[in-house]
Symmetry: D2
Subunit: 306 residues, 4 copies
Amino acid sequence: MAIRLGPNQYGKAESRVVRIYRDTPRHQIRDLNVSSALRGRFEEAHVTGDQGDVLPTDTQKNTAFAFAKEKGVDTIEEFALALADRFIGVTPAADGARVEIEEYAWDRIVVDGTGHDHAFVRNGGGVRTTVVNVDGSGEDRTAHVVTGVKDLTVLKSTGSEFFGYLKDEYTTLPETHDRILATSLVARWRYDSAFTDRGAVDWDKSYGSILALLLQRFAEIHSLALQQTLYGMGEAVLEQHPEVAEIKFSAPNKHHFLTDLSPFGLENPGEVFIAADRPYGLIEATVLRDEAADAGNAWHGVPGFC
Amino acid sequence: MAIRLGPNQYGKAESRVVRIYRDTPRHQIRDLNVSSALRGRFEEAHVTGDQGDVLPTDTQKNTAFAFAKEKGVDTIEEFALALADRFIGVTPAADGARVEIEEYAWDRIVVDGTGHDHAFVRNGGGVRTTVVNVDGSGEDRTAHVVTGVKDLTVLKSTGSEFFGYLKDEYTTLPETHDRILATSLVARWRYDSAFTDRGAVDWDKSYGSILALLLQRFAEIHSLALQQTLYGMGEAVLEQHPEVAEIKFSAPNKHHFLTDLSPFGLENPGEVFIAADRPYGLIEATVLRDEAADAGNAWHGVPGFC
Amino acid sequence: MAIRLGPNQYGKAESRVVRIYRDTPRHQIRDLNVSSALRGRFEEAHVTGDQGDVLPTDTQKNTAFAFAKEKGVDTIEEFALALADRFIGVTPAADGARVEIEEYAWDRIVVDGTGHDHAFVRNGGGVRTTVVNVDGSGEDRTAHVVTGVKDLTVLKSTGSEFFGYLKDEYTTLPETHDRILATSLVARWRYDSAFTDRGAVDWDKSYGSILALLLQRFAEIHSLALQQTLYGMGEAVLEQHPEVAEIKFSAPNKHHFLTDLSPFGLENPGEVFIAADRPYGLIEATVLRDEAADAGNAWHGVPGFC
Amino acid sequence: MAIRLGPNQYGKAESRVVRIYRDTPRHQIRDLNVSSALRGRFEEAHVTGDQGDVLPTDTQKNTAFAFAKEKGVDTIEEFALALADRFIGVTPAADGARVEIEEYAWDRIVVDGTGHDHAFVRNGGGVRTTVVNVDGSGEDRTAHVVTGVKDLTVLKSTGSEFFGYLKDEYTTLPETHDRILATSLVARWRYDSAFTDRGAVDWDKSYGSILALLLQRFAEIHSLALQQTLYGMGEAVLEQHPEVAEIKFSAPNKHHFLTDLSPFGLENPGEVFIAADRPYGLIEATVLRDEAADAGNAWHGVPGFC
């Protein structure tokens, strides 16, 4: 009976790298949470305990901070790719690397109508994320970028129905033609490597445009189910963004139940709700285009989507 | 040896009341977390188990939802006062009531440059809070309102020093004349009952103005310590807001440590930091005016400040 | 209009001090979370920014780690008192100090029926806590110790009723003579300074005995309300522990609602429940003895109980 | 350019099902967190919004509660399989179902040396988990069971080294021959379908035995790296449990850094540590046997391992 090592990876998770650009009095801030993981031929480290192939996780952390100075943090996508290439380059046993980065947004504090030079307030809206997976180097190198947004909480107070569903003997849910629809959205989109391999994506511009489009479509679509809303949002992204090959959603249906005020002689025509915690619906869906480049390892280690 | 009941209170915590105003196609949303607690002569409930004096916590919850329809939610301060008065009115054994409300802000989703009528995105910045304490009713009624903001994360990338402090043999911290100053601010201010008792406070206007002022002063003050920054912020509020008797702060000093890049031959002139989790400094301070009305029970049950 | 500094304190929160005793091959582990805060005459630090009176929070942290070596950690109560006295001793402006410690328990991993010498598994049950408040030094020194337990989740599957309560027009809750009673208990008891001042308390023995008694009484008392259960638990502690002057409870009523299975033709005689998150009842009560020494500053800065 | 729906699933997450067995005065409690998700041919629900194929998540929740009465909860593995088969059976468009259950353990409260009949205290140690994936029904049915434990926090105060690792110019970590090794373990093992398909696994016995073995091996193995410890733990499970085809680990390396007490003239020979929060190492590894049955969909939707 042969027992052996299967898939494995290791790295440093959640290094909180904060980079201040202070070349002029008007500072810029990039506030990141960086995680990296290497995969490959690490049998010795596991089976005999010999660590000769292992670049320590502490070194991975050091590299993230050093690169924040040496390379700078222009976009999280480029920063992640640079780290992944570095780790593969210096670790012969590493066949591939995954680097995941979250970026927290800060707004300038407004004083006398103007944004302050070096004082900021955290913008608590959605968090920008990226996961890059790189395999190999040189001619054999393949790289995938999956960018996204999480913790984006949205709500529609009308324009949402749910009816005509399948029923069995455990079904008690009444159909509705007007409900609150709310979710804390996670969306992650895979860039087409035909675009990214030739540097044809403006990361910041693409992110901003897709984020706005997701919000717009959530608002505009008359919803017959969260599934249909998500599909419509994804379809719009693919239609307008040729650089995107695929988009995935994970969306908890944050239930808002109409409270029964009839015991108190009160009507409640869609005005008073209780926001519930658990349980919640959870809808996961992918929208993709047929002719896109293959996903390969793109979704490896993408939280919630692999 | 006489054993007896001491101070006590009971109530329903964290009812998530969501109120939609849909009288016109342009909906409004008020998204609240409501907690209430009654205090008074409840010996029987504890000592013999007789619950005849006890208005159930379930009833307190029902009242919050019913009032959201009957009275509406104009401001959280008025809503909290109405609930407190109600609970004292129907519970003979209750000498006083505390009602705490958090309000989560939502922005309209922008479509074609305009805020949508009924689609919203959660604004993840600071959370508005209020705690009201009412004792008695009729002629003997006293009421206190403590409004505030929490989870307001702010950062200055320069303009902050820390030097000249007391040293002992366990002191290793080097003095600095340029550091990052960051905190997740909790501020709570007590309204002067001389103002609130005659309805002389515009709750929304006062809140908005104080919030802006706190941010402005945080940005403007050249900091010699978080204590001095907080004091300056509080002083400004008291100077410009006669309706405020007192303001209290609780501010974790969210340390951002300059990373040592010298092993890699790199300088780090205030550019690359690691944001640390624990431990953290914790600064708590009160700024008040001498001639203000007495605080009485105002700070009873105010989280983190009693 | 005179504006001035009111009550204030500052310190280092949540230093995670882990002390290993390895004098013999059978190691001991003490796993602590230490927070300290100084209060006193710190006007200069706030008003002018002069930090000459301020012992840095970083020094407070260093002291906690150094004392873990120099003094050792026998009990968290003694360790906290030693830190508080130290901080007052070296900080002339400090009138008082609060030190709060949580201790996480570890069990030895069992191998071949025996606890291992140096391998442990975290015991996830209740967390032991202490908050000490010391004011002054030498002849004028007063010291208070409030020890307790938190995150102690207990449940009774029967032996709990709730009926005979006050009703108003918003009351819909049906009376019950059999329900689940569950809470995540926080209990904190103040030691009588007449005992602690002469070193008459065996901290570990007292804690262990009180914890067992609280659990026993929770189990034994036929509950007519959570209030009555808590009172009975506290009464037993005071009756059997003369060293305790007072005990306070904060207990969320973690609702378990009987699910309605009648639409499926099923009876549910107290067998299937849904455990709810929010809202929850919150019951807070104090049991004390009349002739106990005065509480003084004992409850200053005790989370949830001040 | 063809845009279409890709992989998708939907269901109800985190139904908190509590089942009390009260057939005798000595009650039993099963405390579960149940999540289910259906996958299959749900294009209409997404593309046109027609929900005719969709069994509502609310119905899935109802079924979990109804089954807790009808079928009872003997083991979470059987309960999960029953739910998965049910959902596939009543939902023609569902090709497969995933059901995930966490079970929280409760100990009886000890009164006079004996466990109480109906009073319990939550055992805060590791949480038992299972994820079952079923595809198809009848002759075409395949089923996989992945059971595990999470939140199992373990620590060794010696017997752990880390040296001989790969170094580059960003490596600053000193080698060590004695350090604290600590992790909050997640382990999940896939049962060989050759065993489970013929009902040859005693779920409770297998779980208890594997849990004890994991702890024992963690204690016994002299660690050269967390990778090597995990491999040894997994190897022991496979050697002693023929019913297990594969085991996967996800283990944060919870760093405990030796504090530098030399500025205070103190030595620190492995006695005083600071437990750090972030960043942390993260080690993920699989140990498997070659001849085991194919994994198929077994790891679909297993949190952290897919």
